[in-house]
């Protein structure tokens, strides 16, 4: 059993300090009688670069300046300051809010957003300025995925603070929501993480006791993983030192689900702590369709188009990715995780999984 150091409380203190510094900077500008301004990295396409060292997209050196003397900046400027204030309140009081909640909360302060997209955008601005994720200041998206496995956590949220939970407690898994995201990791017997795109397979894995047989923490991605889940996987990898294996459908979209966990997305280029560069795409590969004689479907035009895009994408330059893209192109077929059921419900767990994990560990 590993014992882990506490991290989320420190993180919270740091986030609060950054928010306060942000406010103080504006306050001092106002006190000097000047129109306050904010400088932040530009998130426009021409300032997003792929960093091979970090193995993710990052922002370049271009900055944008928002000034309260500019009529077009005033509204988003005020929205941003309010957002900082509001999330400071959230974080300080250890309350959480969904993106939608934030949108509505603004109205109580006579700050208006014309729609949720606008408020989401201001939240992204705040992430960019502070250099941390919205989950750090307690704003979460609606959707959530789940985790199952032998990991004991300790809640840090009010009313549950200090309470511990083992993540095998519930057979459906435990939702990766705000409470779990901010929980401290206490101990685990697992030596790996297996992340699965689809709910059916996640349930099958629990039923087949994959967590015990393979000493694994199982994470259900629910398609393209939400940022809180990506952040959670990163913590499992970084804090617990667990290798991460990702299983998706064998098609360009499945590949990309794995890739976003590994190297992040261009949309999150302003954030550094969402990626798990050492995670591995464990399948289902295009070559598995041939080797395991899996039932498959023909690639659609849109799949082929996507494959062409991925082929040029700097995140896909490694040998495994290029090889599998080429196989896809050659066989013009794709298949789903469930395709293994052709050989019986337990085939994937009994045969495919042990072999693949063994291959990748070597």
């Amino acid at each position: 059993m590993k014992k882990i150091s506490f991290s989320t409380r420190e993180k919270r203190r740091e986030v609060l300090a950054r928010l306060e510094r942000f406010g103080l900077d504006l306050y001092e500008q106002l006190e000097k009688g000047i129109f306050p301004n904010i400088t932040m990295p530009s998130r426009s396409i021409d300032n997003i670069y792929y960093s091979p060292e970090l193995r993710q997209y990052v922002l370049g050196d271009k900055k944008i300046k928002r000034s309260a003397s500019n009529i077009r900046h005033l509204r988003p400027f005020a929205q941003l300051v309010w957002m900082a204030f509001f999330t400071h309140e959230l974080t300080q009081n250890q309350k959480t809010s969904t993106l939608r909640d934030v949108f509505y909360s603004a109205q109580a302060y006579d700050i208006s957003f014309k729609d949720q997209d606008e408020s989401d955008d201001i939240i992204t601005d705040l992430e960019t300025i502070l250099g941390c994720t919205r989950e750090d200041f307690n704003v979460f998206p609606e959707e959530s995925s789940a985790v199952f496995g032998d990991l004991t956590i300790e809640y840090t949220i009010p009313n549950y603070e200090g309470k511990r939970l083992n993540l095998t407690s519930h057979p459906d898994g435990v939702m990766i929501g705000p409470a779990l995201t901010s929980a401290e990791f206490i101990e685990t017997s697992a030596d790996k993480v297996i992340a699965i795109e689809k709910g059916g397979l996640f349930t099958r894995f629990i039923e087949e006791r994959v967590h015990e047989r393979f000493n694994a923490i199982l994470v259900f991605l629910r398609g393209q993983a939400p940022r809180s889940t990506r952040y959670f996987i990163r913590r499992l990898n970084q804090e617990l030192g667990l290798p991460v294996y990702i299983f998706t459908d064998a098609d360009p979209w499945g590949m990309h689900i794995a890739m976003v966990i590994i190297s992040g997305s261009a949309n999150a280029a302003h954030i550094r702590e969402l990626t798990t560069p050492d995670a591995k795409w464990a399948g289902v590969w295009a070559s598995d369709i041939i080797n395991y004689k899996l039932p498959s479907d023909k690639l659609e035009d849109i799949d082929v188009k996507r494959l062409h895009e991925l082929m040029r994408d700097p995140r896909y330059k490694d040998e495994l990715w290029q090889r599998e893209i080429n196989v896809f192109m050659r066989i013009q077929r794709k298949c789903e995780l469930e395709a293994f059921s052709r050989y019986g419900l337990t085939h994937i767990v009994d045969k495919y999984l042990p072999q693949r994990l063994k291959d990748l560990e070597d």
């Binding site: 928010l19 306060e20 942000f22 406010g23 103080l24 504006l26 306050y27 106002l30 006190e31 009688g33 129109f35 306050p36 309260a68 003397s69 009529i71 005033l74 509204r75 400027f77 005020a78 300051v81 309010w82 900082a84 204030f85 400071h88 302060y109 006579d110 700050i111």
Partner: protein, 506 residues
Amino acid sequence: MKAISQTFQEISPADFFYRNREIAGFANPVRAIFSAIRELVENSLDATEPMGILPDIYIRLSNMSDEDENFYVLRVKDNGSGIPADYVPLAFCQFLFSSKYKLKQSRGTFGLGGTMTILYGQITTNKPVKVISSTGPPKIYEYTLMIDIQRNRPIVLDRRIYDNNDKWHGTIVEVNLEGDYPKAMPKILEYLKQTAIVNPYANITFVDPRGRLYKFERTVAKLPRQPRETLPHPHGIDVETVYRIIRITRCKTLLDFMQEHFHRVGKRTAQRFLEFAGFPEDADPKKLKPEEVVRLVQAMKNFNEFLPPDADCLSPLGEDILKAGILKELEPEFVAVTQRSPSAYSGHPFIVEVGIAYGGKIPVGEDLILYRFANKIPLVYDESGDVSWRIIKSINWRNYGLMPGMPFAVLVHICSTKIPWKTVGKEMIADRPEVSREILNGIRDVARQLGAYLSKKEKAKYEKTRLSIFAKYLPKIAEFSAKLAGKEKIPDIGELLRRARKIEED
């Protein structure tokens, strides 16, 4: 060649107009009642304004009897100079008798309209016309008259004389006629309203057969400049006119003749012209042969060195009066007017005046709104055939920040000694290049003024919005940054708001 036996019958002018009454606007009962009102109102305006009198015109239209709705009594009263008693029968009941045969701008040309109204009344009702007039004390004369159509002579049925104790001067005409007021009503009211636009110095009162009162009140006590009579310009002359002048001239030489009888022809111009035309300077005009008269007229048209006609003979409204009329009747938010410099076509001087009115009570329609006037008379029929209509349809209004569907109206007034009518109906102005150029430039001028007004208004609105944005958001920024920083005191942003105002002014 076979000889044909024909009966030639000379017809009198009255007979001619009787047979061709549609050309004077009396084709049917609807149009006739409109034209009757229009002719008498215009006579009244011409009896007042040129004499320096601010017009007071009272119009009453009533049913002749309760039984028949299609017969009316039309009574029009003015405060004009009145008509000398002896001239009343001829002035009203003989065609082509008029005080208007001189060359200056006036509403009617031949005094035809008033007599036509009486003729029409007579042939539809077989009733006489009553004319009451006084040129001032001591007497008022009342005539009851009919027209002898075949002989073009007035018949005086009755003549009464009253004491004029109230120092009244003016004329009252009371005529019986067939008409269709319900159908004509919209055009009549439109005509009166538009008359009020170009005659804001007049009081016009109209009581209709149902007793409804329409009042168009005077808002300016100033009359337009009066036209001065001028000689004909050589470019606008024809053979018959030259003959008439030859008949009355006392000049012994063509050199004198040209200077004496034509507009803006001095000695040097006359000499150069006669040389151009190939006539000796000392030729006797009375001895010109018919073919020489024709050659002289042709030469006058082709000689390019005559000075252009001057506009003394014209009586434009002037920008102030036009503006006052528009403000009074259309009640817009904004008005711009312009008077173009005098110009001429074929020797006839003219002046174009243009106005544009925006907002206020100007309605929003699908199409453009155009008001047309000629010699201070509104033209309410046949809009789409008019040169002004073609021009306003061809303008790209977007260049001026305008588009059809916005509340604006264009007014075009042309005044001339000879309006370039398109048809004998006198409702449409013809497309003469000299005229249409002035109309186009005039419209562009006022459209630019309106465009400037609108963009200024837009800017003021923007500025207000802009400042309200500062006023809304700066306090929020101050409040939330203070709270974030954990400060009790919220920074004072008064100075920043003052500077926000200055940024725009700079």
